[in-house]
């Protein structure tokens, strides 16, 4: 994060409720949404939904970089009742931390703070989260990436989580972890884990913005950390194979990660968004090792040859050529970057897609490619928020908040034939809110077929935006492997008339966030997909025939 003109201000070093001790105090009630005319598009509804989570983080006089990076969230069915619950990560005061909060969705669509079990009650300075069924017992477990020892939390199936001791699980690295992803790199049927790591925090480092005020340092001031790769041995045990498989050969400032098959060889590769350094593309050699190959594949730097402050990641085929593209968010004054996949590799297609200039005034974090109106193509949202103090607070920022000068409006882009246009009116409250936003996912919370948005804000409330756009038809797929587990790494392709749409089965992406819900396709006017094909991890292809619109289909892998 290159801190441009971003001084920090002593008078704004106002600490917040949980900052005076390492207590396990709870969150504050969410601030009511400002009075006024509610817009169409994505409409704020957390007040109605009972969500009262407010992210807690102290702005210390040390200006530790972890304070400004925000905390993640996860949307998934924690208690197995079929709806989407919400896990909000918290930071508190470094290094004490704060407990993370699990909100279970009840039958009325309200989010109720739940006892998430002892694993979530422990105070941690948490940043990112990964979802995956690590023990193949049919429920989703959690990896919490902390500034401090990471945690692996096992779900009892009812939404109560227990931390596996590091001595048992092999997971508990004490460094600064950010985003993470569960994926099965060696196709042994067990989910392995990739963990991005950021910097070695050093309180001796002090920095100022160009206006001379104290502010958060550029990450390059600190030593970078190599990422971690854990191999799932079964029984809740993991082996750190970072060195053995080549991951620890390079250190950088990892913030975002997605796992996908970039080279079409049937195994899952890893793409890492690095802050201010070239991104990594770890090509998986069939589980035998990983080779970094981002530059030669056109994914390390932007079209100007520049490494950027990469943070959030979104995956999807935006131009309908049947190849998966990657979108990466960046700092203010850098554009976000759309890497379009072409037969020879990736090219920077940001300008051609009209995504360049619009993103320059903001710092993007969480991002999602999703079909917001179910019109078949993938639209784009970006959660924005500065990492350095802006010269002036933007209109609409929360007055008096310690993060007032870090708040920026979010962006929503509509995709029309591969060209994106910024559409704040369609964005509604999502675009009108001016917050220092960080993590974000798009999920069909109310199961009406339209994807809603969940946004985590630095030092502010987590917000839910209901999708009130007129949406076309849709269908969803729960894609299960032969263990009955979500088939992370599979791809689903549907044929609608002459067109083909592709989505991956994945819980990773965006920034510090995780989402586990059925794979969603907009169908436009069509009442069914004419053909559904799944390519399973390893490359095996299975044809499921047609599928009707408006429901969730379960696609099970044939027994091998």
């Amino acid at each position: 994060m290159i801190l441009l003109r971003l001084g920090a201000v002593a008078v704004l070093i106002t600490t917040i409720a949980t900052t005076t001790s390492c207590s396990k105090s709870g969150g504050q009630p969410a601030r009511a949404h400002a009075e006024g005319v509610r817009s169409a598009g994505f409409v704020l509804f957390e007040d109605d939904a009972g969500l009262d989570f407010v992210h807690q983080v102290e702005r210390s006089e040390a200006f530790r970089i972890c304070e400004v990076n925000g905390a993640g969230l996860a949307v998934f069915d924690a208690d197995g009742d079929g709806d989407l619950d919400l896990l909000c990560l918290d930071c508190g005061r470094y290094p004490c931390g704060a407990p993370n909060r699990l909100y279970l969705r009840d039958a009325n669509g309200r989010y109720v703070l739940a006892d998430g079990g002892p694993g979530l009650a422990e105070p941690d300075f948490s940043e990112g989260v990964a979802l995956g069924d690590v023990d193949n017992d049919g429920d989703l477990d959690l990896f919490i990436a902390n500034v401090g020892p990471d945690r692996l939390l096992i779900n009892d199936g009812k939404g109560r989580f227990e931390a596996l001791p590091a001595e048992l699980s092999g997971i508990g690295d004490p460094g600064y972890s950010t985003s993470a992803s569960f994926f099965d790199y060696d196709l042994d049927g067990l989910l392995d884990l990739y963990v991005c790591r950021y910097v070695a925090i050093d309180d001796r480092k002090t920095c100022t913005g160009i206006d001379g005020r104290r502010d958060y340092c550029h990450p390059a001031v600190y030593a970078p950390l190599p990422d971690l790769l854990y191999h799932n041995l079964g029984g809740g045990r993991f082996e750190n194979v970072s060195e053995k498989l080549g991951i620890s050969a390079l250190a950088s400032y990892g913030l975002g990660v997605v796992c996908l098959d970039v080279d079409d060889d049937g195994d899952q590769d890893v793409y890492v968004a690095n802050d201010s350094r070239p991104n990594f593309l770890w090509l998986n050699d069939g589980g035998r090792g990983f080779e970094e190959a981002a530059l030669v594949n056109g994914l390390a730097v932007n079209g100007q040859g520049m490494p950027e402050a990469s943070m959030g990641l979104a995956v999807g085929d935006v131009d309908g050529n049947g190849l998966v593209d990657l979108f990466v968010t960046h700092l203010r004054a850098e554009s976000n970057t759309l890497y379009l996949r072409q037969p020879g590799g990736f090219v920077d297609g940001t300008a051609r897609a009209r995504l360049s200039a619009a993103s320059l005034p903001a710092t993007g974090f969480g991002t999602v490619l999703f079909d917001m109106d179910n019109d078949l193509d993938l639209d784009l949202v970006v959660a924005n928020g500065s990492v350095g103090r802006l010269e002036r607070a933007l209109p609409g920022a929360t007055k008096g908040s310690p993060w007032e000068f870090y708040a920026e409006p979010n962006h929503l882009y509509r995709n029309q034939d591969g060209l994106f246009s910024m559409e704040p009116e369609l964005g509604g409250d999502f675009c009108a809110d001016v917050q220092p936003s960080r993590a974000m996912v798009a999920a069909d919370l109310d199961q009406d077929g339209g994807l809603d948005l969940v946004v985590g804000n630095l030092g502010g409330p987590t917000r839910l935006y209901r999708n009130r756009l007129p949406v076309g038809r849709y269908l969803k797929f729960r894609v299960l492997d032969d263990h009955g587990r979500d088939a992370i790494g599979a791809t689903v392709t549907i044929r609608v008339g002459e067109g083909r749409l592709q989505r991956r089965v994945a819980f990773d992406g965006s920034y510090l966030a995780a989402l586990a819900e059925p794979v969603h396709f907009g169908l436009g006017e069509a009442d069914r997909a004419d053909q559904v094909v799944v390519v399973w991890p390893g490359g095996e292809r299975q044809d499921f025939g047609p599928a009707e619109a408006g429901r969730v289909h379960v696609l099970r892998r044939a027994q091998r």
Binding site: G303, G305, M306, P307, G345, A351, R352, A357
Partner: protein, 428 residues
């Protein structure tokens, strides 16, 4: 300058002023919002704004706009240049600087101004490159090519072939990209972003071994913050920016040194800041004062005299210079300066006090006049009573002298000077 006063003056000036050239009226810009701006920056901007309010003309407005641009107040700068464009008509400089003011915050408006500048003048490579970059970002690659090519002949930095190469890459023409990037590489052989694209281009044309060898040679470390635009020739912006970076830092360091009491160091730093930005005349007083407080009287005298060139009727400045002359024992010059200050500001008691002290044995009558003037305002001023007493006693006016000494003894019974004077009188 007090900013509040400037703001008030701005309001009183009814927001519109004419520039004395018979042109359209220019609008006085709103006072800049400097609430959270670094003090040194705020001071620089406030000063120029105050100058503009005091002398609202085109020159000062233009200067204020450039200052805003230099310090990153893009919207304020843009408002100024747009004001000038509206009232005085478009010129290349106004349009270009307005474009630069919007360059980071509003690409669309930046483009409008750059396009206007381009319609006026097409031989300014930096404009072609800036506009080309915006057009490239907008995905209009053919137009971007046209603009970059317009700057090609003048470019010695590699910027243009680099741009041509990356556009060719985006257009899928790896062969052309490689050719252009190779040309850029000759001009900028160590520019890492260029080399990154060069590696990609090698891969795309099937020269993988070369690509891998080059990548290995380059290593994994990348220059943080490397600019994609190489060092292009841009005299206009260089002029604007030259003032800023070194100037601000030096002023801040000078202020810190002054706060710490290291006045000689502060004076040196202020002088360096002044050298970095020679038109910041207000620094001259700081330099003079710092030298003065450091005891460097000759230097202080020189800088105060420079300050007087800008403000010849500033009684405060003349007084300070006079003090220095007295300290340097150049009393006649000091007296001359104090008399000048007194003529400008007859009620300045500090000036009259120094005159009374300097003149009591040279021109007792005049000294008495000054001392009495002070005593009318400050009846308890013991030193002035002492001077009056001494003048009376020296002149043989014993009663008046004794009366003054009595006053002093009442005001300050332990005053050693008065006792000494009284003893001298008794001896006589």
């Amino acid at each position: 300058m007090k900013f509040a006063a400037a703001a008030l003056a701005a309001v009183l000036l009814a927001l519109v002023f004419a520039c004395g050239e018979g042109g359209e009226p220019l609008t006085l810009p709103s006072p800049p919002d400097l609430k959270d701006v670094e003090p040194a920056v705020a001071e620089a901007i406030t000063r120029d704004y105050a100058v503009l309010v005091a002398e609202p003309d085109e020159t000062n407005l233009d200067r204020y706009g450039r200052t805003c641009l230099a310090y990153g107040l893009g919207s304020d700068a843009a408002a100024v240049f747009e004001n000038l464009i509206t009232a005085r008509g478009p010129t290349f400089e106004r349009e270009y600087l307005a474009g630069r003011a919007y360059f980071l915050s509003d690409r669309e408006r930046a483009r409008q101004h750059f396009e206007a500048a381009w319609s006026i003048r097409k031989d300014y490579p930096a404009l072609a490159i800036c506009l080309g970059q915006i057009v490239e970002e907008a995905g209009e690659l053919d137009r971007a090519l046209e603009l970059f090519r317009a700057a090609d002949a003048a470019d010695r930095s590699g910027t243009v072939p680099f741009a041509l190469g990356r556009i060719a890459m985006a257009q899928g023409d790896a062969e052309l990209a490689l050719k252009e990037l190779a040309r850029a590489r000759v001009l900028a052989p160590r520019h890492r972003p260029l080399l990154n694209l060069y590696v990609q281009a090698l891969v795309r044309v099937g020269r993988k071994d070369e690509a891998e060898a080059l990548q290995k040679e380059l290593g994994s470390e990348q220059e943080v913050g490397a600019t994609p635009v190489l060092k292009i020739v841009d005299p206009l912006m260089n002029e604007v920016y030259r003032q800023r970076v070194s100037f601000l830092g030096l002023v801040q360091r000078a202020e810190a040194a002054a706060r710490a009491g290291a006045m000689a160091e502060a004076a040196k730093l202020y002088e360096r800041a002044f050298a970095a930005k020679g038109d910041e005349r207000s620094l001259i007083r700081n330099i003079a004062k710092a030298h003065h407080e450091a005891g460097e009287l000759e230097e202080a005298s020189v800088w105060y005299r420079r300050a007087l060139e800008d403000s010849p009727r500033d009684a405060g400045l003349i007084y300070e210079l006079g003090r220095i002359e007295f300290q340097l024992e150049r009393v006649p010059e000091g007296i001359k300066l104090m008399n000048e200050a007194k003529d400008i500001d007859p009620e300045n008691l500090a000036v009259r006090r120094l005159l009374a002290i300097a003149l009591w044995n040279r021109d007792p009558r005049t000294a008495l006049t000054h001392a009495r003037y002070i005593l009318r305002k400050q009846p308890d001023n013991v030193p002035m009573h002492l001077i009056v007493a001494r003048i009376h006693l020296e002149a043989g006016r014993e009663d008046e002298g004794r009366a003054e000494i009595e006053i002093i003894r009442k005001l300050d019974p332990d005053n050693e000077e008065a006792r000494k004077l009284f003893r001298e009188y008794l001896k006589k």
